[in-house]
Amino acid sequence: MQHELATITLAMESIRVGNGAGFWGDNLDAPRRLCEAGRLDYLTLEYLAELTMSILAHQKSRDPSAGWVSDFGDVVDDLIHSLQTQPGLKLVTNAGGMNPHGCAAAIARRLGQKGLAGITIGTVTGDDLFPRLDELSRAGEPFANFETGQSVDAIRDRIVSANAYLGAAGIVEALARGARIVVTGRVADASLTLGPAIHEFGWDWRDWDRLAAATVAGHLIECGAQCTGGMFSAWRPEIALGDVGYPIAEIADDGRVAITKPATNGGSVTVGTVAEQLVYEIGDPAHYLTPDVDTDFSHVRLLQTETDRVEVSHARGAAPPETLKVSIAYQDGFMASATVVLCGPNATQNARAAGTIILNRLAHAGVKPARTHVEILGAGDTLPGMPITGDSRPWDVVLRVSAADPSRSVLDRFVREFAPLVTAGPPGVTGYTGGRAKPRPVLAYWPTTVSRTHVQPEVDVKTAEEWAHTAGASE
């Protein structure tokens, strides 16, 4: 009885933020399933990996109304019923990518067609530094690579996108101005969750510990099912992933946080699944940096309070750095990979021979890609040189050969060396049915920083009806 009372008390002064997408390509049904079963106040959808912006920049260069995450359009169609039946439900997403205005216009039309023309959509922009690179360089921004120290001059004429990571401020402003759907460009992933918490509770922007608590919550749910049983290294078949539930962060006004999931969905929320996500893709745990707060994860504690509910405490925060992280993507030549299958008692050995044959034939043709890599998948080559699997002799393996070069023509020649293996290779070559592989441009990543004085979020809030008539709406 006492336990129930505690839960109710927390529920009254807390919000439930569910994350229904951890990357562009995540399960399309997850957002709707989470809204239907999650009793959410906010649904967040996180779509932008490091290099997604460069892909979106390319799409926008070919079509001015594109450049946002197209999956989000389908997700909005799927969420119509939830938006109609749950008037308190709000959406916060970085699906805007390189074109939040275009994204808002496109979803506005879809909403209008379903009788939701009155819904308010806010956009957050200001992250796109590409048009401002020269101006910012003149203002003293070096844009040197913070990993290598290299000068940006090395890649300046090959840059395709440059985006600063914004914090939660733009999201908070959009919500304060009445947005029910917030569509951003590049925003720190955890800020998608922190924004709603600041808006709801009116936290001070220097209340570092509470900002840190909600930032940890955002970090834990940002990769979707990775904190509800997906990818769990101690996974066992009893943790049902077929209908895996996506994560929900309950955040209280006083900074208490709990991670849970819809009880009717599969998956599992335990100290183990949450701990693995806490350490995912972090550097120094004492300084998890976002534009909002410098969060110390190292003393965070996790406590299982009931089935599929883990309380998260002891996050500590401090003032964030004066600079914002910037992701630059630049063209770095081309690459291609292709595979064939080899079978038989000597599959591994024959596959290695076939890989050598490919590279030798290329060399005889005078074609030498700048980089090549041969893997025998099935023989432990995902970790090159590491003897993890011992001396097993698989009956069938996949030969995967990859190459990179500044010149596309080198790779066009490279991908033609796979088909000949079928008749002119070792015995047991099969599975070459997918057609010839295509070389693709390499967009490499250049991490750098910019002073926060040079970057201001811009917020636009309009009804769907108004968005549908903006310039970005043209097909």
Binding site: S233, Y280, E281, G283, V300, P384
Partner: protein
């Protein structure tokens, strides 16, 4: 060899990428084993284990709140997610590999 156990018997782990670097968080299954984890899973030992991937640096950070260590392995991904020619360009399998490391059992077991 006798007497050694798999790291997976006392810990679980997750790995991922940060550019061309990878990180592996290793979490003791039982709080009691955190100290032992710290003794056997040194920066040097982890660097040796992943020697074929040629890390330029291995750093270890403690997360005592969840009885875990985070390892950052520099320059082990063959160029990182966009440039690497490897199948596992994002280092997602490094955690499972590390869990196969053979270690002395904790003193109490």
């Amino acid at each position: 060899m006798t007497g050694l156990i798999r790291l997976a018997e006392i810990a679980h782990a997750r790995s991922g990428d940060k550019g061309n670097h990878a990180n592996i968080g290793v979490i003791a299954l039982r709080e009691d084993d955190f100290r032992h984890l710290g003794e056997v899973l040194t920066e040097t030992r982890v660097a040796e284990f992943f020697l074929p991937l040629r890390p330029t640096e291995v750093r270890r950070y403690a997360l005592p709140g969840i009885h875990a260590y985070n390892f950052v392995l520099k320059d082990v991904l063959g160029g990182g997610a966009s440039r690497s020619l490897r199948t596992d360009s994002q280092g997602k399998t490094l955690a499972l590999a590390l869990l196969e490391m053979r270690i002395p059992p904790p003193p109490h077991s």
